[in-house]
């Protein structure tokens, strides 16, 4: 079974984010790393391919400046190869533009299963995977916290408001995973060494047969108008517990008429 995993390479979330003052979009000029949210998808894909008794896990990523830092991490976990779409024409892409690129790249490898995260850490629109599925004419099951593959179909526990739905879907299909789906492995030293020589195919927009006006800032057809400071909430009273703080809390609850 061949699996494509969408992996986003993002600025380190521990570093404070910053907007480019001219475009009001997020600055992405530092080193990029593997989005933690995608490590679950990579792990799940590796395990499913393993259980199926063979097949390849291919990473698909769109990122600026030919960035491969995050891809190397996922290759070190065990993925076989990667496709990276990197092109100046992609700067300022929105979720739909990104989906067009990812869908076109995925089409080249015709996988049995496409895996993405439910939402990315930096942009978190959570719409890209459904857009990819629609562009590929594929069924999709989002919010998976358990996945099995058997008899040409994927079986998913899909999170719901009230619990979960057991959903079955014939392959090929797209599934998005949550952090609960599986515990990602740490790349081993051997994996890190092996990753250095694994193939990363680098593509441009033209290689995918996409019209450059459909992607990037031009294709996004949306703009940030302004950024303002949000209203700050003020800190109130602070008490240090000397064994009696619960009394102060009770008084506060009474004042609020909660009790």
């Amino acid at each position: 079974m061949n699996v494509a995993v969408c992996v986003k390479q993002i600025p380190d979330p521990a570093a404070p984010g910053e907007l480019d003052p001219s475009t009001l979009t997020l600055k992405r000029d530092g080193k990029l790393i593997l989005d933690d949210s995608d490590s679950y998808g990579v792990e799940m894909a590796l395990q499913l391919a393993d259980q199926a008794g063979g097949g390849e896990v291919t990473l698909v990523s769109m990122a600026p400046r030919g960035e491969t830092g995050g891809l190397r991490t996922a290759l070190a976990m065990g993925a076989a190869k990667a496709i990276l779409v990197s092109d100046d024409a992609l700067a300022g892409s929105d979720a739909l533009g990104t989906a067009k690129v990812l869908a076109a790249a995925i089409k080249r490898i015709s996988p049995d299963l496409v895996v993405a995260a439910t939402e990315s850490t930096d942009g978190y629109t959570g719409t890209t995977p459904a857009q990819v599925a629609e562009l590929l004419g594929m069924p999709s099951v989002t919010f998976a916290n358990k996945i099995e593959v058997a008899d040409g179909a994927v079986r998913v526990h899909r999170q719901t408001e009230a619990g979960y739905d057991e959903v079955e879907c014939p392959l090929p299909a797209l599934v998005t995973v949550t952090a609960g789906v599986v515990e990602p492995r740490y790349p081993s030293f051997k994996g890190i060494m092996a990753a250095k020589s694994k193939p990363i195919e680098e593509l441009k927009v033209a290689d995918l047969g996409l019209d450059p006006t459909q992607v990037g800032a031009a294709g996004a057809r949306q703009e940030m108008v302004s950024v303002e400071e949000a209203e700050e909430r003020q800190a109130g009273e602070v008490v240090v517990d000397e064994g009696d703080a619960h009394e102060r809390i009770i008084a506060f609850l009474e004042q609020l008429k909660v009790i």
């Binding site: 989906a99 629109t125 857009q131 999709s140 899909r158 619990g163 703009e223 108008v225 102060r248 909660v258």
Partner: protein
Amino acid sequence: MGVDKIWVLAESVEGVPTATTLELLAAARSLGSTVEAFTWGPDTESLAPVLGAHGATRAYTVGDVSPGLPGAPVAAAMAAQVQAGNAPDMVLVATTYDGRDVAGRLSARLDRPVLTNVVNLTVEDGVPTSHHAIFGGTQVAKARFTGPGPAIFVVRAKSFVPEETGGGPAEVVTVEVPDLGRANDARVLERHVEERAGPKLDEADVVVSGGRGLGQPDNYAMVEELARLLHGAPGASRAIVDAGWVPYAYQVGQTGKTVKPTLYVACGISGATQHMVGMKGAKNIIAINKDQEAPIFGIADLGVVGDVHKVLPRLIDALKARS
């Protein structure tokens, strides 16, 4: 361009429109002159009175989609209406499991972008403008579309307050679902409902949340007990959800639920921006944390610097003694 017609994706559970649906209807009424719902399910007639009372004059429905999932058929039916000339200026969708599927697929079908994580909507110079909380809610960004509509917005829960208008039942109009090819092949085999007592997290008037400061999973029982005594719902930080102490449904924050209760009690939670963005709309906040420097104290109305293992048992005992 002014805003005339607005569609609201109307979700329902067991024949009752969800709270977020009613929130979006209120938003739509404040922005446009005609509000219509777009829905699915076995019995739209039973939804029509509530949808109408909240301002929808019409409810388009694709009918029962089960055992399939709604994403593909609902998006395709909406797109077909738009392509046939029945196009709204705006489409409002809630940030829900099914909502994001519908919005994403609709966007791809119509080749229209989507603005997501919207926390407020205004019309400025005749242009629908969305407001987004960024950098953990410390800043508000405004955005708008520059191309042709419909303008699709995915709106976070609790961004608007539901309001009845006293309108009569919405007129139910059944619409066709075009051929979906393979896109609709997923089948729900079984639904599992986890029973929980007490009010729902995102509807509760009081929310008591626990974080890593509780030390170990068993101590979450104190949070549940306090929530019960205050007739509230228990919640959690992502740290203890990821650690498997409580289910994801308990999570408050950027990647969890947005709550706006009268009172939020944070126990052993540091106050990461991603947590605070989901709860700082609470009217009142009590925080209990042993670290005086914890960021949560920056937004708490009452901050208690103390050990949750001491303060919570005393508080629980004192509340029990009263009842």
